[in-house]
């Protein structure tokens, strides 16, 4: 049995015994075989000495059991690493940030506690997956949609706490933004309810986010300050219909007006879908002419790129919009979008098909893109065949065509210099007002390839940060590197977070190192 660093074998054995007393022998995992199931399948250090691995795992079923576990962990200074369903692939999976931690696996806490159709919300435990909630709603025949990321096997709570997003309208696809009310077990074992939930018999725990006094919910996202055991989510009442429309514009510089107008429409709520501003030119196959352009100082002028695009017969930019709502409303929205974009010379529009709801199971099965309708699937994995996973760096850009053009040049050059093909050419409007421009780096389990992938990921962090395009979410292996760039005023935000950590988790038992926040005893060691 591996023991956590700094914990004696006898203390660890005692803690494991007491975990078993709390949850039952069969829910404590210490064998290599069992513990290896918590490895990060997409680890960029797979099989190497630095791979972050757990020492054991414990899977409670109730809040009271979590409280007992936390008390034991405080007693013996055992580092715990809570996960919901552990599906945070590309960002660390179910493996701890601090090797030797005991994974606190909440998959057994999988109760859907409340789904209210008229008031359109759900209250769930951390082990509830998007599939679970979707099936529940479907079986009960409720006219509600969920919003899910790709893939759909993850936990609603886990994804929201990591600031994940899906693809239905706002506010729903901003999973943390559309949560309402939490229950949290603190490191000292106390159970806290946030927002209106602090009022016993509250009638608006899932209705009004802030409650009274400081709104503390954000503290428990991307952090290690508590264990979230319940969380409410707002749901979208099933719309009448949905419809797509495609847009393309011909020229390199058209990105500027395209993004400016789409931004305005999004801020007005007229465009309310995720849209991906894609370049079939930048993103298309690499031929000699394109290579030559990329190798020019500055990466090619607008005119040069326009000539290249014309020779290829490709529009420079394209996007697809999806509308959700009563058919006459969404038709009017699409018409307005066309009017606004008509200002761009050479813009083309293609009307997509209309889907009316509800759908039968058979119709659901035939959908090409279920995620855009809040239907969870695993279809995203079909595009990843042949690799052992990927690392996602995710810089955030403003809605600015100028910035989008600059970012394409910067990242294309970075990947080209590193000799790595880049699946680039798009920025997605997942969150309210920023594009995520994913830099996806494929992984294999070849040590040399992993080293190269790690080095490239580190460079993406540096280059993106240098340009002011902050990374919003990081793989566990790079959290320190990412946080290091959030350094305003000599890292005052990090130091404040450390103050909060010391106050709420004085023994540092929860998720050491998560998002760069280390407990006091490890902070000293690392410095």
């Amino acid at each position: 049995m591996t023991t956590p660093p700094g914990v004696s074998s006898s203390d660890f054995a005692a803690a494991i015994r007491q975990f078993a007393d709390a949850v039952g022998e069969q829910w404590v995992f210490t064998s290599d075989e069992d513990v290896s199931t918590y490895r990060d399948a997409y680890s960029p250090m797979w099989g190497e000495a630095d791979e972050k691995v757990a020492s054991a795992a414990v899977a409670p079923e109730t809040v009271e059991q979590i409280q007992q576990i936390v008390r034991v962990a405080n007693r013996y200074s055992i580092p715990l690493y809570p996960i919901s369903t552990g599906r945070n692939l590309a960002y660390g999976g179910s493996a701890p940030v601090y090797s030797g931690s005991v994974v606190l696996d909440l998959k057994r806490m999988n109760k859907i506690l409340d789904v209210n159709e008229d008031q359109a919300y759900a209250l769930v435990e951390p082990g509830v997956s998007y599939f679970d909630l979707y099936r529940h709603i479907r079986e009960k025949g409720l006219k509600l949609w969920i919003d899910c990321p790709d893939p759909g096997w993850g936990s609603l709570i886990g994804n929201a706490l990591d600031h994940g997003a899906g693809r239905t309208p706002l506010p729903y696809r901003d999973h943390f933004g559309a949560h309402c009310g939490m229950e949290v077990v603190l490191a000292n074992g106390e159970v806290v309810r946030t927002g209106m939930g602090a009022l016993p018999t509250a009638e608006t725990w899932q209705h009004f986010q802030y409650g009274v006094g400081p709104w503390v919910d954000g503290l428990f996202s991307q952090s290690n300050l508590g264990i979230v055991t319940k969380m409410g989510f707002w749901l979208l009442p099933e719309p009448e219909a949905s419809m797509t429309g495609q847009i393309s514009v011909p020229r390199h510089d058209d990105a500027v007006e395209l993004v400016r107008i789409l931004g305005k429409l999004a801020f007005q709520g007229i465009v309310n879908c995720v849209f991906s501003v894609q370049s079939p030119v930048f993103g298309g196959p690499l031929d000699t002419e394109k290579s030559a352009l990329l190798d020019r100082p500055g990466g090619g002028s607008g005119e040069e790129w326009d000539r290249y695009a014309a020779s290829q017969g490709r529009p420079f930019w394209q996007t697809e919009l999806r509308f959700y709502g009563p058919l006459k409303v969404i038709e009017a929205q699409w018409e307005h979008v066309k009017e606004q974009l008509a200002a761009i010379d050479g813009v083309r529009f293609t009307d997509g098909s209309v889907i009316r709801f509800p759908l039968t199971d058979e119709e659901v099965g035939r959908l090409a893109d279920p995620g855009s309708l809040g239907i969870p699937s695993l279809s995203v994995f079909s595009s990843l065949e042949g690799s052992s996973g990927h690392l996602d760096a995710s810089p955030m850009l403003p809605y600015s065509g100028e910035t989008l053009l600059e970012a394409h040049k910067v990242f294309m050059k970075l990947f080209r210099d590193a000799g790595v093909p880049l699946l680039l050419g798009f920025a997605m409007s997942y969150h309210w007002r920023a594009f995520i421009m994913f830099q996806s780096i494929n992984l294999t389990r070849d040590p040399a390839h992993m080293a190269k992938a790690r080095s490239l990921y580190a460079q993406v962090i540096e280059v993106a940060s240098d340009h002011g395009w902050g990374i919003y979410r990081s793989h566990a292996a790079f959290m320190d590197a990412v946080m290091d760039r959030y350094s305003f005023n000599d890292h005052s935000l990090l130091r404040m977070n450390e103050t909060l950590k010391d106050a709420l988790d004085p023994n540092g038992i929860l998720s050491a190192g998560r998002y760069g926040i280390w407990p006091k005893h490890l902070r000293r060691e690392r410095a």
Copy 2:
């Protein structure tokens, strides 16, 4: 000169001198006349021994001056009470929660730091009022709307931090929800930037709220954990048009379907205005027949109320919706609303007028309700003539007609038993998914009347809390009473907030008592 409790005259004099060194003599106020301008004009204890009053005030102009003031306050244990513009009327105005505090008046920090038209945001200091920002936008001819509360003289930052709301579409009218990025001076004098602002040269400080790691912004709302010195706000690009539509339904029990359908439409974003579900029957004049009904056990049945409403020729419930956007979209939305509500027997619709933007100054001057178009005014004060102010208790209700009916009965009985006329009969959808059912209690400066108003306010808190209808915001004099009801698990949320307070403000210099959070030394004293 009054001194803060527990501070010697010599220490206080030294602190005042050092405040003057920091900001200049003329920006430190100690005379009775000057200090009295910080009294709460709507205090329910006006002129009484318990009235909360300041000992002095200091008005810095820069972040560096605030840092100096905070250091002096730590040195001499001076309680500070930061205000933005001090216009939080009905909730305490500019007077401290803890008598003897020095008001830290941020009105001189009134710079509009950035307004970006394409990206539709503003970055402001605490002294910037809704009027200031509105005038700036108007003068520059920017096609942007702000969202303002009634009245419009308050601070954007102050109002957002108190979870205030206005009346244009979501997300904009949820002022805290539509903020993006903060700069905060902590009690130890450190300056922290939150969200993407922690990344030097960030390009998305006003675009992406969460940044990386724990999202701490909520800690600084309704609290006393830091002094917010900059805050970004998302703005709505000016819509093409706006249009209203009135709805009435005839019967008492129609509240159930009316609210259910309006809720669904709001959750879908088809209705995106503030709507006030009003009862001209409950809210209308009190005649003998109505008095008799109210005196029945249970407050009258639905049938009895329907007979009364019919005899008065009044519909039981009514509401006005406002739509914002391209004319063809909002016409389609209103049409859809009518179709959905047609299920209610006897429903009536009246089409309102259409306003097209932009408006000339003259057209703005003629508007009956500028606030619904994001135009600040002071017109709300015209309805308050003859009183010395009012106290607002603000319980939150779910979107449920059953609850709305019950709440009307409960509060009408409460006010009737107290012998106080109640301006009731409406619930407003200011926030995303909850009604605020304001209980407005008029104030005069007659001690007997104030005592009665205080007692009634305290009763409203208790009765609302008993029913699970939590109060979202409170007058300074009642913050302890309100927070006392948020008692889940032996007040675990309050105890956690106290832990945060002790960690971030160990000397307890900031806003002692705000929203029930007291520094350690006063907590012990009070217990």
